[in-house]
């Protein structure tokens, strides 16, 4: 489907929004640093770092890739593990 906005127009429109979102993330990391204790071993931090790597990459479909980082994997044998009988239809 044709996309009406050119890349330069998208950047013109969203530059300040992207800047603001990056600052929010940076400030969140600073807040984590200032807080007492540590979150270094927390698996959620690994997920966040993995997502940041996706942002830095040149691959397309970054939003989908980040969604998958934060998703449980699909297990095709779920019916067997949950003992769910398929319908007769």
């Amino acid at each position: 489907m044709p996309v009406p906005m050119t890349a330069p127009k998208v950047l013109d429109r969203e530059f300040f929004e992207i800047r603001a979102k990056l600052l929010e993330i940076a400030a969140s990391f600073d807040r984590l640093d200032r807080g007492a204790g540590t979150v270094e071993g927390d698996p959620r931090m690994s997920l966040i770092r993995e997502a940041l790597d996706v942002l830095r990459s040149d691959e397309p479909d970054r939003a989908e890739a980040i969604q998958m980082i934060f998703s449980r994997q699909y297990a095709a044998d779920w019916r067997k593990s949950l003992k769910v009988v398929p319908p007769k239809g």
């Binding site: 489907m1 297990a75 319908p87 239809g89």
Partner: protein
Amino acid sequence: MYYIDPHIHMVSRTTDDYETLARMGCAALSEPAFWAGFDRGSVDGFRDYFRQLTEVEPKRAAAVGIQHYTWLCINAKEAENVELSRDVIAMIPEFLDRPNVLGIGEIGLNKNTRNESIVFLEHVEFAVRHEQQILIHTPHLEDKYMGTRMILDMLIDDSRVDRSRVLVDHVEEHTVRPVLEAGFWAGMTLYPVTKCTPARAADIIEMYGPERLMVNSAGDWGPSKPTAVPDFIMEMRRRGHSHALIRRVVYENPLEFFGQSAHFQFAPPDVPEAATV
């Protein structure tokens, strides 16, 4: 521009919200049965809720010129209680002939458990037997991908299910493709934090086109915005998309999908579209 919100929980909204929706151009809406924020204790709790959905809300909506439709079920969260779920499903026929009932929904999964799957399959069986359309809730956050794939597995397993009469809701970037490729309708819920934003929904339309895609607000008792569909319209306009494309997503697609239900007797508003915001 007139629009239809295909998924909004008006039992959680005020009369002022109804009036705002009408002023924004909402011509009709559909309200699936969902979780009330607490687990109901008996089938009578659901019977009263279904009366609210089929008697009270249509009147509140009609007072501001909005046509109200609904879907009935026991939601995925309370479906963990299989015994109660079976009682509720057995009670649904009391309401199936009500004029605003479009089908069975929002059924689905919450934490992707065995009990939720059993109740989902029993709802599908009920819908097939009663020739009802189906509206489906997919789980949130980390459970969404697995849960959506499980739901598709169960639907595809059943050859009696007419995929053109099933709407799989709350799709996002990682679940929209398998839903559309399998031939189902897909809904994007514009909801802060846990679902999709108007801008990301517009991105998905640009990537997949408007075929079998709709947008909704959910507009429930959680942090949500009942006017999220007009926000999507504004986002699409700002990007330069045509009136025809936007109208297809927010008005014509819901008409086409709901039009498959015998109870959907939609009458277009008699106020000129230019009079809406």
